[in-house]
């Protein structure tokens, strides 16, 4: 079930306002663990400790600081932070439209569904228009005292809103300073042939979270007092650089 609406308002594009409600699109249900003390199996709590005095610091003695340089801070009061909160608004403001393929996966933070509100006319037309133009609307909105940037897209009969990350939250691949390794055309050709051979359609339903079931099985086994066999993780021997071409050729032979 898509659950209750978490936000209600209007999508603004140009002079048009389309009423809609926001719903979560994804729900994760995973086995939860607690951190325990190995000696007495007592559940651990997080505690803030003074780095200098090495003593626990209670809430009322904690304060917030912005670090300028080593050990230099500007103190900021909670009331001052409250003033920086964005103004509440009921509008998803679309600023521009871009081609879907322009937004890299690295930007996507969280997906929401937009449920249509009465009247449906604008909503349905927008769904159709976005689909036919393969476009997404870059928009901003405010929710839960935070300002969001997002991409408005169509999916089947509905509109979806993907919260995106701000540009300065994304670490650029260039900053990794990877070495530039020359590759021969032959290596590239065989490598390309190999991945083409191994290409299949994306069928997410094929992949179940089997691990979750196995993990539950392990917990049940331990609860019954059975011994758990420890299996060593498999480690692969890295392919040596001077054996790369040879390994690619052997791989290709295997799949072709």
């Amino acid at each position: 079930m898509a659950g209750r609406a978490i936000w209600k308002g209007y999508i603004h594009l140009g002079s048009i306002a389309v009423p809609a409600k926001l719903h979560a699109a994804v729900k994760e249900e995973r086995i939860q663990f607690h951190l325990l003390h190995s000696r007495d199996h007592v559940k651990l709590k997080q505690q803030m400790v003074c780095a200098y005095e090495k003593v626990p610091v209670p809430m009322e003695e904690q304060t917030r600081g912005f670090e300028l340089e080593d050990g230099q801070y500007i103190l900021v009061e909670p009331a001052e932070l409250e003033q920086a909160e964005p103004e509440e608004s009921r509008i998803i403001e679309v600023h521009e439209f871009v081609k879907t393929e322009q937004i890299d996966a690295v930007f996507f933070e969280r997906a929401y569904y937009l449920e249509p509100d009465i009247p449906l006319k604008g909503y349905n037309a927008l769904v159709g228009a976005l689909r036919e133009m393969d476009a997404e609307g870059i928009c901003t909105w405010t929710m839960r005292k935070r300002s969001y940037i997002g991409a408005l897209q169509s999916s089947g009969k509905i509109l979806r809103l993907n919260a995106l990350r701000y540009a300065d939250e994304v670490i650029s691949a260039r900053s990794l300073e990877l070495p530039n390794i020359p590759l021969s055309e032959k290596e590239l050709k065989i490598g390309s042939d190999l991945i083409n051979q191994l290409t299949a359609p994306f069928q997410p339903r094929k992949f179940e979270n089997e691990h979750q079931k196995k993990l539950q099985g392990l917990i049940d086994k331990k609860a019954r007092g059975e011994k758990i066999a420890i299996l060593r993780p498999r480690r692969l021997k890295p392919t040596a650089s001077d054996k790369l071409l040879q390994t690619l050729e052997a791989s290709l032979k295997r799949v072709a």
Binding site: A25, L44, E80, E169, I195, L215, I219, L244, V255
Partner: protein, 271 residues
């Protein structure tokens, strides 16, 4: 959901995980590093008394003392204060073939992946000796606009991931399982009829408003306001100074107590 290997803190330099990525017979040693940094202006929690930064530590309420990382274990709650304890080795035993290896099962067209599946992005960087095979995988996937699909286990979780090429690097996006995607039938319009006149009007607006994706244009309003506030306070010289202590807590399994003690020695020496 972010990948997490337990109670430890990770830094980009150190890597969150190290192991091997493989496709067919080729195996490449790699490290997993973060690709995003939460951009909210980050504040340090300080001790009001001496303005010394606070460190997040695990605390045993019964012994009333801090617990070093090597005394922290994972437990599954089966009743009030009753836990099944699981060691890292036992967790790794659940899927031993996947805990140190990202094995690409197949390649897919990246454009076939609906963005609703995207969860959290990371980069893979080559470890020593893996640079060439790494470059090759990145380059051939870039040319074909393909991504490798793999499953791998970190900590107590198994992730379905897409590994793709991004500006010469390999980026790894964890994907949601399809069972985690909520159905949208209930919220879909009862009547999905599209009026062509209205649609044409929308298309006209979209066309007029079409541009290139330039995320740099959009800044977090709240962050902007906070930065302004900080500038103002800086001008007023409203700063405080903490006694010198070692930088941020390091990554996960380092002996934090030893680091702390070392920094304490430094503090004493400098006085």
């Amino acid at each position: 959901m972010k990948l997490s290997s337990g109670g430890g803190n990770e830094t980009a330099a150190q890597g969150i995980w190290s192991g091997t990525i493989s496709f067919s017979l080729v195996a490449i040693p790699v490290q997993l590093v973060k690709a995003v940094e939460p951009g909210r202006v980050s504040f340090r929690m300080l001790h009001g008394k001496d303005y010394s930064p606070l460190l997040r530590r695990m605390f045993c309420p019964r012994e009333e003392k801090m617990v070093p990382p090597d005394e922290i274990i994972r437990g599954y709650e089966i009743g009030p204060d009753k836990y099944i304890v699981l060691t890292d080795e036992e967790l790794e035993s659940v899927s031993p073939e996947r805990s140190r290896t990202i094995e690409i099962i197949e390649f897919i067209d990246m454009k076939d992946v609906d963005s609703i599946y995207y969860d959290h992005p990371y980069y893979l960087v080559p470890s020593k000796g893996g640079e060439k095979a790494y470059s090759l995988l990145a380059e051939v996937m870039r040319r074909a606009n393909k991504a490798g699909l793999a499953k791998f286990v970190l900590g107590e979780r198994e992730y379905l991931v897409a590994v793709k090429s991004m500006e010469g690097a390999l980026s790894l996006i964890t994907l949601h399982y399809s069972e985690e995607i909520l159905p949208d039938e209930e919220i879909a319009p009862q009547d999905g009829k599209i009026e062509s006149e209205e649609k044409s009007r929308m298309k006209k607006i979209i066309k007029e408003m079409t541009g290139d994706f330039t995320p740099e244009k959009y800044a977090d309003e709240r962050r902007k306001k906070i930065v302004k506030l900080l500038r103002k306070k800086l001008k007023e010289k409203a700063t405080v100074e903490a006694p010198a202590v070692e930088e941020e807590e390091g990554g996960g399994p380092v002996d934090l107590i030893a680091v702390l003690e070392e920094s304490m020695r430094k503090v004493k020496k400098s006085r």
